[in-house]
């Protein structure tokens, strides 16, 4: 028994549905409504922003392939660059210099009037690593209180200039 023979009676019954017809003129009325709806709409109106976007992105096969290739190349380049062998120099951490500190904080950058001997000396110290006393000053324990700092700064910290 074939696939179709198995359900011959059901198929015969379903054939009845082919005789179900809309009233005369019904389909013509639908066609008129469709025409009327389309006439009242601007031609280039998209049904949703998503439809519009999809239509914008509707690329031909060649362009789609080119785009996919470009994305793949960019991805491959990024992956190889991030996994490249790094040199020892790149690994070595940069030693912060006092110039960084001076640039970051105006207090340290203008300690003396420019052109003076002390200013020149401080300038020479700018490229020293920051592990040395900062611009010739070093924090030491002990605070020299004054009328401005009393009660604000802990008494056991002070900065002694050379």
């Amino acid at each position: 028994m074939s696939f179709d023979d198995q359900f011959k009676d059901v198929q015969r019954l379903l054939a009845l549905k082919r005789y179900e017809c809309p009233p005369p003129g019904h389909l013509a009325r639908i066609a008129r409504n469709i025409r009327a709806t389309l006439k009242t709409e601007p031609r280039d109106r998209q049904s949703t922003w998503w439809d519009a976007l999809l239509n914008q992105l509707d690329l031909g096969p060649a362009w789609a392939a080119a785009l996919a290739l470009a994305v793949a190349v960019a991805y491959f380049y990024g992956w190889t660059w991030s996994h490249r062998a790094q040199t020892r120099a790149e690994f070595a951490p940069a030693i912060p210099t006092q110039r960084w500190i001076a640039d970051a904080n105006p207090f340290w950058s203008t300690p003396f009037s420019s052109g003076s001997e002390r200013a020149a000396r401080v300038h020479d110290q700018l490229d020293r690593p920051s592990i040395y006393p900062i611009l010739g000053m070093e924090p030491v324990r002990g605070w020299r209180p004054s009328s401005n700092t009393r009660g604000i700064v802990p008494v056991d910290y002070t900065i002694r200039s050379p």
């Binding site: 009676d9 809309p22 009233p23």
Partner: protein
């Protein structure tokens, strides 16, 4: 009782029993009309509507068992298709593309229509009473053939509404509209095996629902 036409006329008019491949119209004509429609030619689109409105309406009607819903969905399908014509590249036939829109509309609509909806059925054509297959099925049950046909129509539609949407769809497209499995696969975006398996289970369920009428 409406006009008297032969069963072949009915089939030809509804264009439901003939497979798509036996379309008398050449595909180029559709392509030309689609191209003109893409440029905003409403007359060309009117011609496409005229060609396919019966089939689209019929598919939607068999899916919903409601004349009003089928009418609204037919309108929406053609309006949406016109708006989306720019994206139609001709990879499939216009008919297949249009059917996909219609079927998606029907499935979305049926998902939203949660509660059971009263059926509003189209009238049976005059020739249904003279279909030998149907006469054979009905005459044994009752001498009042017309009443029996109406009852059978109602039972048939109730049974169809009990099927899941994919099952109802394959029955509609294959057993009622006469589309080949391959075309249905293209419309539903699935392979022929899936179509055949859905058709098998759908018929099996229908056989159970309509046990009174099936030997």
């Amino acid at each position: 009782m409406r006009r008297g036409v032969s069963p072949t006329d009915v089939a030809a008019t509804l264009n439901q029993s003939a497979p798509v491949e036996s379309e008398p119209r050449p595909a180029e004509q559709d392509d030309a009309l689609v191209k003109r429609s893409q440029h905003g030619d409403l007359d060309a689109y009117d011609e496409l509507v005229r060609r396919y409105r019966e089939r689209v309406y019929s598919a939607l009607y068999h899916m919903t068992s409601s004349r009003e819903d089928a009418s609204d969905l037919t309108q929406e399908t053609f309006v949406k298709a016109f708006r989306a014509l720019k994206s139609f590249k001709g990879d499939s036939s216009f008919f297949t593309w249009l059917y996909r829109i219609a079927i998606n509309k029907a499935i979305n609509f049926l998902k939203q229509r949660k509660n059971r909806h009263p059926m509003s059925l189209d009238d049976l054509d005059f020739n249904a009473e003279h279909d030998p297959d149907l006469v054979a099925l009905i005459s044994e049950k009752t001498p009042r053939r017309e009443a029996a046909l109406a009852e059978l129509q109602a039972r048939l539609n109730e049974a169809m509404q009990k099927l899941s949407e994919p099952h109802r769809l394959v029955v509609t497209l294959h057993d009622i509209q006469g589309l080949p499995h391959e075309e249905i696969g293209r419309i539903m975006d699935c392979n022929v095996g899936t179509v055949r398996s859905r058709l098998f289970y759908a018929r099996q369920q229908l056989q159970a629902f309509l046990a009174d009428y099936v030997k």
